[in-house]
């Protein structure tokens, strides 16, 4: 198989919020920058974000970055690195104002300043009361953000390669990163993008789960590529779930439905939340509701032929209330659950929403790995930002609206660090290692020539169902251990997937098979890390982690206040300590997380 080579100062994989922000930094500094993306930039998944982006601008009431920092550390259940968190919240205002200058149409107050609204977990005065911190552009925040940044990139001559699929990281013997291999979907041609700086901004991998709010494109390609190139993956056991996704589809049903009086019921029609949270009932926090739902399903009180979902009932509400106050829900229920929610309840399950872990980075956006007795040594030429990266600011649980902020701050920071390293002349186009490129060619060849192999769709489905059942929102010791074995068996099948269509032009079967190679790495990292972590922390909740005074909420700081690092080779785990020391302020001391 042939390939050609193209040279750039920097190659960025991904044109969502993180990739576009990094690209602006590089192109503005005059670097020859290529951005590769599977879909047109403004169709990246960032478009789905509606809630807003957090910044302590204090436009509507008093706010301070230190309060934002406290909320983020607490939200992370103390697994977030406090230096990176301080860096993020202190840079929030500047990044949001920059975005405004790029043309982002934020909602405004009468005095012309950016309007801010409250969002779960964001508080004033170190957890005292809710604060208005989220900046939004109507209900199209993510979309508006991508448009503004795409336009800016066009202005500063970023070169886009749209409908290109990056396949593998090119890393030489010394461990330096020299670019990526990629396939042009239009021709099937393979090209090596030879670069002095390579930035991954490929988004999350929510599609490892059967029920996911993520679009189909979120297949964790960057994370998979990094793992294949020997980079460990950090804290992959931590996934945020939303309690109410439409069963079998994943589409999110907003919390507002329960706010308006919607009730969760089991197969017997019982309002089961009365047993789990006698006061708050259906309005209890996300994790409490999700856990109750899974317990009902596990104990045989789920609905449907497989007893694998519960019901969200709004039939007792006035139809006008539903249609007026909850616009969109009626249509979503019809389209994706096939029910008219005015007359029948909606089948729902806890649904995967956000990936907290990823490629380990520091706050400068450099990818860092253990080397000798040091745990965080930068990999020369390699940077990552956004949902594919783990800075780690979200720790064990992300706060809403902090993710868009992460894209802006760390996209910029990764770009800025790369510019610095390029300008100081520390990076050159080192010779390309043939062996690394051969690995990509062999992977594509294997797929093209595989006979009697596994079906891609069925294998992916088996992985997704296994992950949902064995490493979902509520985790059990035996189920996790069994799940590891099942995922390893599925991994062996992924190595033998087969495609019938061998054509070169827009061969979606091939694209999906190559994506599955990445998903399975994420699935392995997740379930192996989750199986090993015998405590509960943030979004990782285990049935066998006891809530006793030594381990409040099941959190075991003595043994588990550390980041997991999963290596593909040998399927092994390592750990590194959490950075509890912020950049300038005092450590936010450990305490039980309660809201």
């Amino acid at each position: 198989m042939n390939y050609s080579v193209r040279k750039f100062d920097a190659v960025i994989v991904g044109a969502g919020g993180a990739g576009l922000r990094a690209a602006i930094q590089l192109s503005e500094a005059g670097m020859k920058t290529a951005v590769l993306t599977k879909v047109f930039p403004t169709r990246s998944h960032t478009v789905a974000a509606q809630g807003g982006v957090a910044a302590s601008l204090g436009n509507s009431e008093e706010d301070h970055w230190h309060w934002h920092m406290y909320d983020t550390v607490k939200g992370s259940d103390w697994l977030g690195d406090q230096d990176a968190i301080e860096f993020m919240v202190r840079n929030a205002n500047e990044c949001v104002i920059e975005l405004e200058h790029y043309g982002m149409p934020f909602d405004r107050l009468d005095n012309g300043r950016i309007y801010q609204r409250p969002f779960g977990g964001h508080m004033s005065n170190f957890g005292e009361k809710p604060v208005r911190r989220s900046c939004a552009a109507a209900d199209r925040t993510g979309h508006a953000m991508l448009h503004a940044m795409y336009q800016r990139n066009v202005k500063v001559n970023t070169q886009f390669f749209v409908e290109w699929q990056a396949l593998d990281l090119v890393r030489d013997e010394a461990g330096e990163v020299l670019g990526v291999t990629a396939m042009d979907m239009e021709t099937g041609e393979i090209v090596v993008f030879h670069a002095k700086a390579t930035i991954f901004a490929t988004g999350g991998a929510g599609r490892i789960y059967y029920s996911s709010t993520n679009a189909f494109i979120n297949t964790g390609d960057g994370v998979g590529m990094a793992a294949r190139a020997g980079i460990p993956l950090e804290d992959m056991e931590f996934w945020q779930f939303h309690p109410t996704g439409v069963a079998g589809a994943g589409v999110l049903i907003t919390e507002g439905v329960r706010g308006e009086g919607g009730i969760l019921r089991n197969a017997q029609g019982e309002r089961f939340m009365e047993r789990y949270a006698p006061n708050a009932k259906d309005l209890a926090s996300r994790d409490v509701v999700s856990r109750a739902m899974v317990t009902e399903i596990n104990e045989g009180r789920g609905c449907g032929p497989n007893k694998d979902f519960v019901l969200l009932d709004v039939t007792h509400l006035a139809p006008e209330t539903i249609l007026k106050r909850l616009p969109g829900i009626h249509e979503i229920a019809i389209q994706f659950a096939g029910v008219d929610c005015l007359k029948e309840p909606i089948p729902v399950v806890p649904t995967c929403h956000y990936q907290m872990g990823g490629i380990p980075t520091n706050y400068l956006g450099q990818v860092v790995v253990p080397q000798g007795d040091q745990k965080s040594v930068p990999v020369p030429g390699f940077y990552a930002a956004g949902e594919c990266a783990c800075a780690s600011v979200h720790g064990a649980n992300r706060l809403g609206t902090n993710s868009l902020l992460d894209l802006l701050v760390f996209g910029k920071s990764a770009g800025e660090t790369a510019v610095k390293e390029l300008k100081t002349g520390g990076r050159s186009h080192k010779p390309l290692p043939a062996a690394a490129i051969d690995k990509t060619l062999a992977r594509v060849d294997r797929l093209n020539n595989q006979k009697d192999g596994a079906d891609v769709h069925e294998t992916r489905l088996a992985m997704q169902r296994t992950m949902q059942k064995h490493a979902g929102v509520f985790r059990f010791k035996d189920m996790l251990a069994e799940g590891v074995e099942k995922i390893l068996a599925i991994d062996a099948q992924v190595a033998q997937t087969q495609i019938k269509d061998k054509s070169k032009v827009f061969n979606t079967a091939r694209i999906e098979a190559l994506e599955l190679d990445n998903l399975i790495e994420v699935a392995k990292a997740t379930i192996v890390s989750a199986n090993a972590r015998t405590e509960s922390r943030g979004a990782h909740v285990r049935d066998d982690a006891l809530d006793v005074p030594e381990t409040p909420n099941g959190r075991d700081d003595k043994n588990w206040l550390k980041h997991s690092l999963w290596y593909r080779e040998g399927n092994r785990l390592d750990y590194k300590s959490v950075q509890l020391k912020p950049m300038t302020v005092d450590t936010i001391e450990l305490k039980k997380r309660a809201y």
């Binding site: 599977k38 879909v39 403004t42 169709r43 990246s44 998944h45 960032t46 478009v47 789905a48 199209r140 979309h143 409908e163 979907m185 239009e186 996911s212 709010t213 993520n214 679009a215 189909f216 494109i217 589809a249 994943g250 589409v251 616009p327 969109g328 249509e331 979503i332 019809i334 389209q335 994706f336 096939g338 269509d501 054509s503 032009v505 827009f506 061969n507 979606t508 694209i511």
Partner: protein, 82 residues
């Protein structure tokens, strides 16, 4: 000829990979039902619709908005068909 059609449909199908899960699901259902006898005329109409921004396309599919273009409206009906 057939290879040409395959390539065109492949490209269209890829353009149906969207940023919103809602649309991904609608298109997955649509192709499962329509791929075998999808004609050239339909290709042109769908290509036009796929140029829309995701939120605008979803507004049409979920009846929050309408279009004056008769061909597009007919295609939206086919997309909605459950």
């Amino acid at each position: 000829m057939n290879t040409d059609r395959n390539a065109r449909i492949g490209k269209l199908k890829w353009h149906c990979r969207r940023a919103l899960l809602e649309l991904d699901l609608v298109f997955a259902r649509f192709w499962a039902r329509e791929e075998a006898d999808f004609d050239v005329q339909s290709e042109a109409v769908l290509t036009r619709l796929l140029e829309l921004e995701d939120h605008d396309l979803w507004d049409l599919v979920s009846n929050k908005a309408t279009t004056d273009d008769a061909e597009s409206a007919a295609m939206i009906k086919r997309l909605q068909c459950i």
